[in-house]
Amino acid sequence: MKFDTPATTNPIDQLKVIGHATSRIDGPLKTTGRATYAYEWHDRPASPAYGYIVGAAIAKGRIASMDLSRARSAPGIIAIVTAENAGKLGKGNYNTAKLLGGPDIDHYHQAVAVVVAETFEQARAAAQLVKVDYAAAKGSFDLSAGRDGAAKPPGRGDDQPDTTVGDFPGAFASSPVQLDATYTTPDQAHAMMEPHASMAAWEGDKLTLWTSNQMIAWTTGDVAKTLGLPKENVRLISPFIGGGFGGKLFLRADAVLAALGARAANRPVKVAMQRPLMFNNTTHRPATIQRIRIGAGRDGKITAIGHESWSGNLPEGRPETAVQQTRLLYAGENRMTALRLAMLDLPEGNAMRAPGEAPGMMALEIAMDEMAERLGLDPIEFRARNDTQVDPEHPNRPFSQRQLVECMRIGAERFGWNKRNAEPGKQRDGRWLIGMGVAAAFRNNLLMKSGARVRLDRGGTVTVETDMTDIGTGSYTIIAQTAAEMMGVPLEKVVVRLGDSSFPVSAGSGGQFGANNSTSGVYAACVKLREAVAQKLGFNSAEIAFTDGQVTAGNRSVPLGQAASDGELAAEDSIEYGDLAKTHQQSTFGAHFVELGVDVATAEIRVRRMLAVCAAGRILNPTTARSQVIGAMTMGVGAALMEELAVDKRSGFFVNHDLAGYEVPVHADIPHQDTIFLDETDPMSSPMKAKGIGELGLCGVAAALANAVYNATGIRVREYPITLDKLLHRMPDA
C-alpha cells in the first residue's frame, strides 16, 4: 500500500480497540518466565556448547602472538576461534569496527577469541588461559584534545553536516541580547538489562541464530555478509528482547562468535556477552562538545541561532548528530549548524535512544533557559515567542502538526509552574534547596517501509506475522490492537508473531519509528485480508463492516471465520510512503517539567516530581505509551545526574565497565512521574495517524533537570552529568 496522500477516515478511526489502555499481551509470558529470550530457549537447540568471549586488553595496536595451548588443554574445551583460524570474514554494512579483531586491534575489549566448551564455567575458565601478547600503538582518546583537528564529515543525501540560512555571524554580532556557551555530554552506555546474546546452530551451510536484535532484516544481511553466506541461508529468530536502546540495532560479536564457534565445534553454541565486556566491546552514545550561540532582540525574538557539535568516532564512523533539532525547533532568520568529527580510538560510537536529539536537546534546552533569563522572560514565554509552524530552514515546509506551545502551557498549569520563583536559590525546604525546571521535548517522526502478513483461520483467529521486534516497548500489543480493530475481532482472537527473518520485513525497532510504521504495515495487510474475505464471502467490499467477529453488509451477517472454512486465508502487504515527509516536516513535541531538591550541604540532587506532556499523533495504547515515556524520563534522570562512561585517556577505554561503576537510576532516584498525551491525530504520518513516542520522552528531560538545579542553586552546570562535585565549590554555606 502506498501512502502518499493524507489519511482520511478509515477503520482504525473506530477506536474500538486502538487508543484503549491495554496491558501488554506478552506480559504473562514474561512474568512467568516463559518468554524465550535469546539465551533461554531451553528446549532448543539440542545439547548446545557454550562460548565465552575474550576481549582485547589494549585499545589500539596489534596482536603480536597468541598462545592457545593452555586453553586448548583445559577441561571440556571443544574449540577456540580467533581471527587466525576463523576463515575470511566480511564486515557488516552497519558495523564500523570488526566484530572479531586480530591481528589489528581497533578498540579495547574488541573480541579476539571465543572459547567453546561443554559448560559455561569451563569456557570461562579456559578463556582466562588464552595468552595474548600485544604490540600496543599510540591512539587518540580525548575528544577535547581532538576538537581542533576534527573534520567535516561527509554528508548523506539530505543529511548534511552543515546548514546555513541568512547571515548568522552578522545577525548574532548585532543582537542586543546574546548567549555564547559551550556544553558537554559524556559517552553513555545503553546498559540494558539483557546482554547481547545468541545461540547458533548450523544445518549444512544453513545457519539459525536465536538472538536479541532490534532490526532483523539489517542484521540478517550483515550476518550473511560477515560470514560470506547467501542471505537465504541465514535465519534470525528474536521474539523477545530484554532492552536494546539502540545497542541491538546491529549485528554484534555474540552472534558472529556463536556462529563461528558452532561451525568450529560442529554443534550448536550459545554465547552471552559477559557484562564487563559490554561497555567497551559494543557501541555507545558518543560524547559531544556543543557550542550554542543565540542572539535575540529585546522583544525576545530570536534573530540568530547557531549550534556546532563535535564528537569522535573510529575511522569510517559517523558523528553524533546533536544539532538536528536546532534546525527545526525555534524560529530565527539567521541560522547555522555544523557537525565536526574527530578520529578517536575509543570503542565504536553509534545510535542510542534518540541519537542526535537526546544529547542535542541536553545542550539546546539549557541554552534556551539561559537566554530566557538574560531576556528577563519566563522560559515558557520565550519558547512561545519563538514558535514556528514551518521548518525554519525551509519555510515552504509546514509541520504536519506542532503543539509545542500547547504542551508547555498545559504542563505549566498541571505542574504548578507559577509557583516557581524565577530568582534562583530562593526556595528552601529544610536542608533542601528546591528548584523547578522546564524544557521542550522534540524528536523527529521517521517513515520507513514496513510489511506484514495476516492469516485468518476458520475459527476466526487472526495471526499476524512480521519481522518487527518488541524490545520491551509493547509492539506485540499495539500490533494485536491494530489487527483486532481492522478485522473486527476481540484482542484474544489475534495471535502476533514477531522477530523472525522468515516473516515479512518490517521497519524494526529504532528511532521511535517502530510503532507507527509497523502497525501501518499491519493495517495494509489487513486491508488486503478484508478484501480477500469479502471476495470469498461474496460481499461487495465497499459497504462491508467487520465487527464483533462478524462480517456484515446490509442485513447479511456471517462469522468472519467462515471465509476460511475451506482453508486459511492469508494476505501480505507493506506500507510504503510517498513524499509527505518531504512536503511536511513530521516531528513530535512535548514539554518536560521537573522539581528537585539539592542538599545544601552535600549538593546531592534528588528529584521530587516529574511531568511530561506529549503531542505525538494518535496514542495507540495509553498504557504502553506511558511506559515508554516514564522509562525515557527515567533514562533522562540518569543522563542528567549520573551516567558517564569514564574514559581513561592514557589507555583508551571506558573504566567503569560494569553496572556497579556505570550508574543508572534505581527506584529510590525516581519520584512521582506524570504523563499527559494531547489529543492529536496526524493524517500525514500514516493511516494510523500515529507518530513515535519512545524517544520523545527522553529528549529534553536532562535539560529540565539542569535548569531545575540552576533554579534551586543559582549554579549553571554545562557539563553533564551534573554530579555533586560540580556544584559543591559554588554552593552557599550550609
Binding site: Q128, A601, T602, V647, V666, L728, M731, A734
Partner: protein, 316 residues
C-alpha cells in the same frame, strides 16, 4: 573461575585443620564479594571452607554491658536487632545504607569487614594493579580517580575500603575476635584490623594466614546521638563518595569516623577534641596530610560540609 574444592565445616577446630591442610584455602561466608572476585579470577582459592555452619550467628550480651556479634550474623539481622537499634543506632544505620536488601540478607559481619576495594582497575584484570598483582603497578594513579582515597594512600595504591558497616564499627570502638589455626585466640581493636596500603596494598588486614574471625564485640553503649550520613550521586545502591559516622553527645563532644576517603575507616581521635568547635576545625585535623587527585579533591570539602550537616542535625 578456577576450579576449587569445597567443604563445609561445623567447628572452629575443623576450620583450622582445613586451613592448615590446604595452602590456598579461603573461608566463604555470604559469598557476595568472594564469588564475584573468583569469577573474574581476582581471587583464585583452590579450596573453599564454608563457615556458615559454625553457629557464629548470635548476638549476645557481654559481661561488661556490651554486645558480642557472631561473625556470621547477617547484615540484615544485625541492622534489625532491637538492642543494636536502641544502643548502637549508628551501626544499624550504616548497615542499611549499604548494598541492597538481597545482598544484606546474605552478607555477614566478618565478610563485610573483609570485603575488598571497588577500585575499577582492581576489577579489570588487563590493568596493572599492585593490590591484585603485587609489583605490577597502579593503573588508577593518573587515571580515573573520582572514587579513590584522598588520605593515607601511597605511591603503590590509592584505593578505598568500601564498607559502610566498618565505619560504624570504628566509631563504636569495636574489637574483632579471632581464632588462629594453632587454636590461639586474640582480640584485635578495629583500628588495627585494616592497614594502610604502603608498599604492600595486597596485604589489607593484620589477620595472619588462616585466621578466622569468630565475632565482633561492641563495648558498653556510649549514648549520644547516632548519625550515619552516606553521600552519593545515586540515592541508593551505590558506594559512598564520602560517609560520616558520628556519635555526638549533648555537650557537643563525640566521635567521628569517615568512609570513602582512605584504605581503612578513617578516624583521628585527636580531631575529635575539636568537635565542640565545629566541622571546620574537626575536618582540618582529620584531613591533615591529605593528598587528593584533581578528580577527587572535592572530597575534602565534602567531608567538612557533610560533617557540618551531621553536627547541625545532632543539635536537633
Amino acid at each position: 573461575m578456577k576450579s576449587f574444592t569445597y567443604e563445609k565445616v561445623s567447628s572452629p577446630a575443623a576450620a583450622a585443620s582445613a586451613v592448615v591442610s590446604n595452602s590456598n584455602a579461603k573461608f566463604i561466608a555470604g559469598g557476595t564479594n568472594l564469588l564475584d572476585l573468583m569469577k573474574l579470577e581476582i581471587e583464585t582459592p583452590s579450596h573453599l571452607i564454608d563457615v556458615n555452619g559454625l553457629g557464629f550467628d548470635k548476638i549476645e550480651p557481654t559481661s561488661d554491658g556490651g554486645l558480642r556479634i557472631g561473625a556470621l550474623v547477617r547484615n540484615t539481622a544485625l541492622a534489625a536487632d532491637a538492642r543494636i537499634r536502641r544502643d548502637y543506632g549508628l551501626l544499624s544505620r550504616a548497615l542499611l545504607a549499604g548494598a541492597s536488601g538481597q545482598l544484606r540478607n546474605k552478607a555477614t559481619t566478618a565478610g563485610n569487614l573483609l570485603q575488598r576495594t571497588r577500585c575499577p582497575y582492581f576489577y579489570d584484570t588487563n590493568q596493572p594493579c599492585n593490590k591484585r598483582n603485587p609489583g605490577s603497578g597502579c593503573a588508577a594513579i593518573g587515571g580515573v580517580t573520582r572514587q579513590h582515597a584522598v588520605i593515607g594512600a601511597s605511591d603503590a595504591c590509592i584505593a578505598t575500603h568500601p564498607s559502610d558497616m566498618a565505619i560504624a564499627m570504628r566509631a563504636l570502638d569495636a574489637t574483632v575476635q579471632t581464632a588462629r589455626p594453632d587454636g590461639s585466640i586474640r582480640d584485635i581493636p578495629i583500628a588495627d584490623l585494616h592497614r594502610l596500603p604502603g608498599d604492600t596494598p595486597h596485604i589489607e588486614t593484620t589477620l595472619t594466614s588462616g585466621e578466622l574471625i569468630t565475632s565482633v564485640t561492641l563495648p558498653k553503649p556510649v549514648g549520644g546521638t547516632h548519625i550515619y550520613r552516606k553521600v552519593r550521586d545515586r540515592a541508593s545502591y551505590a558506594f559512598a563518595l564520602v560517609s560520616v559516622g558520628a556519635i555526638v553527645q549533648r555537650d557537643g563532644t563525640g566521635r567521628v569516623a569517615v568512609g570513602g576517603i582512605a584504605h581503612k575507616p578513617w578516624r583521628v581521635e585527636a580531631a575529635e577534641a575539636e568537635m565542640p568547635h565545629g566541622a571546620k576545625a574537626v575536618a582540618a585535623h582529620l584531613l591533615e596530610g591529605a593528598s587528593p587527585t584533581k578528580e577527587n579533591a572535592f572530597k575534602l570539602s565534602l567531608v567538612e560540609r557533610t560533617l557540618g550537616a551531621v553536627l547541625t542535625e545532632a543539635k536537633g
